[in-house]
């Protein structure tokens, strides 16, 4: 552990620390952010009404729309002269939102990233290749500051230029790779074409995040890159990467509770759910100065687990995120997350991880088409052999998801590769 005093703190002590910081945060929001002052007043609330951690339930939610409505700096709790860094969210699901950090915010973030990297097997002696995008996206710089805080060596290569990524990995002896899981697989594919054998490399672990990925995809990443893969979670509105991280138990991601108060809610009613029940993840920041947030709705679906963990960390764990409420496809009334399709494909030997989902509506009926790139292994020159693959994949998806899909085999490389977040779904339905 990077900071055992905090990371293995007694749970009662954590709760005490959280309550104290929750009050400070609400007070700060009320005093410094007109948006929150009005929200709290409208709800007839003040920071003085927060006396227990459960009182958080009384507070109103904050949504991405609120950040957009107050674009760019309306939700900041400090004047711009106290902001030392600005990032912008990726805008993957709409117009961008802007976030700002004070000196202390960057300091806290760096420490949480250092803790995350240590959880992902990092030490001072590691050479860490940061292949998340540097720039407005929080991934690159977030990791970079964490590596430097830890005192390991950062290779700030950013994403893209895959052949150079591999050359650097080989020549400089990278020990930890940080990027999106889909980019990790793309690196592996390119390396195979270049004749690079991962067994000859020094890579020991990878810290992958910024998109939902299944346990099956983890198995594949670990196998093809010959490393131990850790899931890291975060979102720019709340901070960036390093909100939670998997430990070596790989049984959920520890949320850094000295910095964030996590809840799960029913996404439709907004009701708070008991620990362990699956719902939408909601965060209240506990020590952020620049952009404190009260009950921010992440749209990510998970469940919390506060049972003791074998690694010794006491902070609550969130289950690996399966999907977002807004990636979720509703196909003929069935909820489908792209990560579930991913999980099915990873289970079938020989099927490459490159797929795309296309949703159409024909005569009022939703049709889910799964396009899969054919691999050498799958190719048979008998038409029947190819049709058998289509049937196997279709049947597996049907038995796992309970919906019929149309499986289309496409030529290799015909699905666009992404160096950041993979674009998996094209929804052509006009609703």
């Amino acid at each position: 552990m990077y900071n055992p005093e905090i990371e293995a703190m007694d749970r009662e002590e954590i709760a005490g620390l959280q309550l104290e910081r929750l009050k400070e945060t609400v007070k700060r929001c009320e005093e410094k952010v007109p948006f929150y002052r009005k929200r709290l007043r409208d709800a007839g609330l003040s920071w003085k009404d927060i006396n227990t951690l459960d009182d958080v339930e009384k507070l109103p939610f904050t949504t991405k729309e609120d950040l957009r409505d107050n674009y760019p700096f309306g939700m900041f709790a400090v004047p711009i002269r106290d902001i030392i860094r600005i990032h912008e969210s990726s805008g993957a699901t709409g117009q961008p939102t802007v976030v700002g950090y004070t000196v202390k915010d960057i300091d806290v973030w760096s420490e949480l990233m250092a803790r995350s990297i240590v959880a992902g097997m990092g030490e001072k002696s590691d050479i860490i290749q940061v292949a998340y995008g540097y720039g407005l996206f929080t991934g690159g710089l977030g990791f970079h500051y964490g590596v430097e805080r830890l005192g390991a060596s950062a290779i700030p290569i950013s994403c893209g230029n895959t052949k150079r990524q591999i050359r650097v990995m080989v020549d400089l002896g990278t020990t930890i790779l940080c990027c999106t899981p889909s980019y990790a697989l793309f690196i592996a594919e390119t390396a195979a074409e270049m004749g690079v054998d991962f067994k000859q490399l020094k890579l020991k672990s990878g810290i992958f995040g910024a998109e939902p990925w299944s346990d099956q995809m983890r198995d594949k990443v670990e196998r093809v890159l010959n490393l131990s893969a850790f899931d890291v979670y975060g979102l720019s509105e709340v901070m960036g990467p390093g909100v939670s991280i998997e430990c070596e138990q790989k049984n959920g991601l520890h949320i850094f509770e000295d910095a964030f108060l996590a809840e799960t809610i029913n996404p439709e009613t907004g009701d708070r759910l008991p620990t362990g029940e699956q719902g939408e993840l909601v965060f209240t920041t506990l020590n952020k100065e620049g952009l404190p947030l009260i009950r921010y709705r992440t749209k990510d679906i998970t469940a919390l687990d506060d049972t003791p963990c074998g690694c010794g960390r006491t902070h609550v764990r969130m289950r690996k995120v399966r999907g977002r409420t807004d990636d979720m496809l509703i196909i003929r009334g069935v909820n489908v997350f792209p990560s579930q399709i991913d999980a099915v494909l990873m289970e079938i030997e020989g099927v490459p991880p490159h797929y795309q989902l296309i949703v159409e509506r024909e005569a009022g009926l939703d049709i889910l088409e799964v396009q899969i790139e054919l691999s050498d292994e799958m190719f048979s020159d008998r038409i029947r052999g190819l049709e058998e693959w289509q049937e196997v994949i279709r049947d597996e998806i049907q038995s796992y998801l309970g919906i019929g899909v149309k499986v289309i085999l496409v030529e290799p490389r015909s699905i666009a590769r992404s160096e950041g977040k993979a674009l998996r779904v094209i929804d052509n339905r006009e609703v």
Binding site: S375, D376, F379, I383, V410, E411, S414
Partner: protein, 143 residues
């Protein structure tokens, strides 16, 4: 005495077959025979080239999914009934013919039948016993 056929996977998109033939032509590979099997979504091109290994490498380099398959080339007399005489010894041995196609020799007297069966060596034996001429690799590629 089998021969190599090059099989290529193609999506049903306009221009893809042309890409295959153009890449081969540019690389100086001569195509002796070709057959396309297709469904509404994809097709498989099977071809006999004068240099099958080169054809495979060239297409692979250009990102196609390619496989070399083992097939049999046998000479058929160009007259009514010629075809069934060839198929009979295979059927007699309960061999399953996956597909076949034929092309004409340059002389025009005989046709060459390309046959794909699982048990290729056994099929070659059966055809020879029945008195047919199975064409060896070198001869086929340089036809």
């Amino acid at each position: 005495m089998t021969v190599k056929q090059v099989s290529v996977f193609l999506e049903n998109k306009s221009g893809r077959l042309l890409d295959v033939t153009r890449r081969l032509g540019e690389a100086g590979v001569n195509v002796r025979a070709m057959c396309v099997a297709d469904t509404s979504e994809f097709g498989v091109v099977r071809l006999i080239a004068d240099d099958p290994d080169k054809a495979r490498d060239i297409l692979r380099e250009h990102g196609f999914i390619v496989k070399e398959t083992t097939v049999i080339a046998v000479e058929v007399e160009d007259r009514p009934g010629g075809l069934s005489e060839i198929i009979k010894p295979l059927v007699d041995q309960e061999m399953n013919i996956e597909y076949l196609y034929c092309f004409l020799e340059k002389s025009g007297k005989n046709a060459v039948m390309i046959i794909r069966v699982e048990e290729a060596e056994q099929a070659v034996g059966a055809l020879k016993v029945a008195g047919f001429r199975v064409i060896p690799e070198d001869e086929l590629y340089s036809m």
